[in-house]
Symmetry: C2
Subunit: 383 residues, 2 copies
C-alpha cells in the first residue's frame, strides 16, 4: 500500500500534477486510517482518519469517471492501478451518512458497505462524532431485539415487528415493563430504528447508566394498507388510517399479550420521526386514553391545525395537559424549515398554555444523528 | 398499465416489430403477474407469472444497454418509454435466485429488491417451487428470532448471533429445549440462514405439523479471527480454528447460560452448508463429547482424509457409531462435483461401517433451495 502511494506520488510529480491534489498527498498517512464500522467483514473502504476525513475506494476498471455522492455533495474519484478509483474527503458531518458511487453516470451502491434502508437498500458510512458515544456499543448488559411475526387483521397479511427487550427481561422473569412504540419516517422501514437508529444500543447504554428506566421498544413498519386500499404513500398519517387501526387493534394487543408489559396508558409511549411524528401526533392526540407520553421528532413543516385538528383536542389545553405526562418535540438546527416550523408550533402551544418540551440537536439535519439524539433525550424522560 | 401495454402492442405492429418478440407480446398477460415476495414495499418488479416466468423492469433513461444476470445466464432488456427497460425470462429454477442488472457494462443491484448477503448485499427474487411450501409463511404459531450480542473472549469483539426459539418457548416457561448450531457457507454471513434460508419459517412449519421437535437454532458468523490473526478466508475450518474455539468456549456456554437449553451432547446438534459443513465435520468429529448429531450440507469437493483426518476418529467406526445419533449428509443433484464427492465419501463410509444418511435434493445446485431442503429433512430426524 505504502509503495503504491509513493509510486502515485512520484507519478504526480513527474506529471506535474499538483502535489496537494486530493488523493495522493493525503494517502501518505495510511497508519492513522481505520476501516469504517459500517463496512462488511471483507470491506476495506471507506476508511476513517483520526481527524474525521474519509477515504473511499471503488473498483471500476473500465469506467471513464467515478464520483462519490455523500451528504449532499459530489466528489470526483481519481483513477489508480488495477481500476481502483479513490479519493479523500473532508469530515462530512457526524453519524450515519448514506453514500453512493456514480460510475459513468450510473448510481451504484458500494459492495463494501453494510446496507441501510432509505427508499431502497443503500450504502452508508458511520462517521464518528467527537464527544458523543451514547449510541456506540459498550461493555454493558445488552438487551435482545426480537423479530416477531404477527397476522394483522387490518392488512390481512403477516407482518414483522422488531421488539427490544432490556437485558434484565430474561432474568427478572416476573417483572413487567412500560412500552415505547417507535415509528420511522417516510424513507425508512421497520428495520431502520434498530439498524440505523441503534435504538437498542442507545437504550442499553441509558439503562446501564440508570439514565432511563428499563423499557420495551416496539418498532413497526409505518406503512399499512387494507387489501382493497391504494398503497399510495401519504395516507398513513390521516385520521383513522389503516396504520392507526392496525396499531390500536393488532399491534398493541399482540404486544400486551405476548410480552410482560404494563398494559395501561401511563406506561405506554408513542414517538416517531418525520412521517412517524405525524402519525404520533394524529394517533396520540386522538387516543389520549391510550398514550400518556408522545415524542415528535423532526415534524415535517406542513400546516398544523391547533383549532380543529386532532378532533379539536388542542383547543382544550387542560385536557392535553392533564392527559399527557410528556409532550416532547425535537428537531435538528440545520433542518431549517422543520426546525422553524416546530418552534412556531411550540410558540403557539406556549401562548395556548399547552405544556411541552423542545430539544434542539445542534448542527444536524433531517438525518439519523438527529433522531438518535432525540431518542437518547426522550427516553431519559419516560415513565 | 393495460393501456400502456396496448399502446406498446400497437407500436410493435406499426413498426413491424415481430408480435412475439420477448417483451411486448407477453406483457398482455398482466392479470396473471404478481409482485415477487422479495420485492421491497414499493417494488413493482420483478413480477412472477403463474407459469413461472419472471418479468423484470429497470429504469435507466440514459443507458445504451441493460442486461439481466440471473441463475448463470444473461438476458438483454428491451428499452421502453420513460427509460424503462424490461424483459421476460423463462422459469430460472426454484427458490431464491440472486440477480443483478448490467447497465452499460456496470453491474448494479436492483433497488426494487430486498437484499440478501452473497459476498456483498445483493438483489434476489424468490421463485416459486411447484409442490413445495415447507419454507413459506403459513397460519401456524411463529417462533421468535432474537438478536443476541455477546462479547467473544477469542476475537475480543462484540458479535451478533441470531437465535430462533420455537413459538411455545414464551409460554412453556419452564420447558428446556435441544439446540441446533447452524452455520453458513463462505459466501454468506450470520443473517443468511434466517433471511435467505428461512430456517425459522421451516421450523415453525415442521413444529406445527409435529414433524420436528421444538428446538432452539443458533446462527453465528462462521468467520472469527483473533486480534493478531490474519482475516484471510480459508482458515475457519482448520483444526483448532478461532471459530472452533469461539464456538466451544464462548457461544455454547453463552447460549446454555441465557436460554433454557438442555445442555448436553445428546441434545446438541451441529450442521452447516458448504464452508459450514467443513466446520461441522472438523469441530463435530473432534468434539464428540459435545455433539451427538451432525449435518453436512453440500460439502465442497476437496480431499477427505478418512484415516488421519479429524484426529483419526474416522478410523474407529465403532466410536463414531456409538457417539453420533445421526451423521447426516445432503447435496443437490446438480452441484455435480459436490454431489459426486459426497457419494464417494459415503461409499467409503459404507465400506468402513460408518453409519450415515444421505439426502439428494433433486435438480438443485449450490444454492438456497438445496440447503432449505436439507434443513427441512435434517430437522425432522433430530433429537
Amino acid at each position: 500500500m505504502i509503495f503504491k502511494r509513493i509510486t502515485n506520488l512520484l507519478v504526480s510529480i513527474l506529471l506535474c500534477v499538483p502535489l496537494f491534489s486530493q488523493a495522493p498527498a493525503n494517502w501518505k498517512q495510511d497508519g492513522e486510517w481505520k476501516r469504517a464500522p459500517t463496512n462488511i467483514r471483507t470491506g476495506e473502504y471507506p476508511k476513517i482518519a483520526d481527524d474525521g476525513r474519509l477515504a473511499f475506494q471503488y473498483r471500476a476498471p473500465n469506467a471513464k469517471t467515478v464520483q462519490l455522492q455523500i451528504a449532499g455533495k459530489k466528489y470526483d474519484l481519481d483513477p489508480g492501478e488495477g481500476g481502483l478509483w479513490s479519493t479523500i474527503i473532508p469530515y462530512p458531518g457526524p453519524g450515519m451518512q448514506f453514500y453512493a458511487y456514480i460510475v459513468d453516470g450510473i448510481t451504484v451502491n458500494d459492495p463494501s458497505s453494510e446496507f441501510f434502508f432509505n427508499g431502497s437498500w443503500r450504502s452508508a458510512v458511520e462517521v464518528p462524532s467527537p464527544g458523543e458515544d451514547f449510541y456506540l456499543m459498550k461493555q454493558v448488559p445488552h438487551g435482545q431485539v426480537r423479530e416477531f411475526w404477527f397476522f394483522s387483521t387490518i392488512t390481512q397479511t403477516y407482518r414483522l415487528m422488531y421488539i427490544y427487550v432490556p437485558a434484565e427481561y430474561e432474568t427478572n422473569t416476573t417483572a413487567r415493563y412500560p412500552v415505547l412504540y417507535l415509528q420511522h419516517g417516510g424513507g425508512e422501514n421497520e428495520t431502520s430504528w434498530i439498524r440505523a437508529g441503534r435504538a437498542n444500543i442507545i437504550l442499553d447504554n441509558l439503562i446501564a447508566e440508570k439514565k432511563a428506566k428499563p423499557m420495551i421498544i416496539v418498532v413497526n413498519s409505518g406503512f399499512a394498507f387494507k387489501p382493497d386500499e391504494s398503497m399510495d404513500s401519504g395516507i398513513e398519517f390521516l385520521p383513522g388510517s389503516s396504520f392507526e387501526q392496525m396499531l390500536l387493534k393488532d399491534v398493541i394487543p399482540t404486544v400486551d399479550k405476548n410480552f410482560r408489559t404494563i398494559p395501561d396508558r401511563e406506561h405506554r409511549a408513542l414517538a416517531g420521526l418525520s412521517m412517524g411524528s405525524l402519525q404520533t401526533l394524529q394517533i396520540g392526540l386522538t387516543n389520549l386514553n391510550m398514550f400518556a407520553w408522545l415524542g415528535v421528532f423532526s415534524r415535517p413543516p406542513g400546516e398544523f391545525d391547533t383549532v380543529n385538528g386532532f378532533n379539536g383536542v388542542l383547543s382544550n389545553p387542560a385536557l392535553v395537559n392533564s392527559s399527557l405526562r410528556l409532550f416532547w418535540w425535537g428537531a435538528g438546527t440545520t433542518e431549517v424549515s422543520i426546525y422553524n416550523k416546530s418552534r412556531e408550533i411550540l410558540q403557539g402551544f406556549k401562548e395556548n398554555g399547552i405544556n411541552h418540551e423542545f430539544y434542539e440537536s445542534p448542527g444536524t439535519a433531517h438525518e439519523w444523528q438527529t433522531w438518535r439524539r432525540c431518542l437518547n433525550q426522550f427516553a431519559q424522560k419516560l415513565f
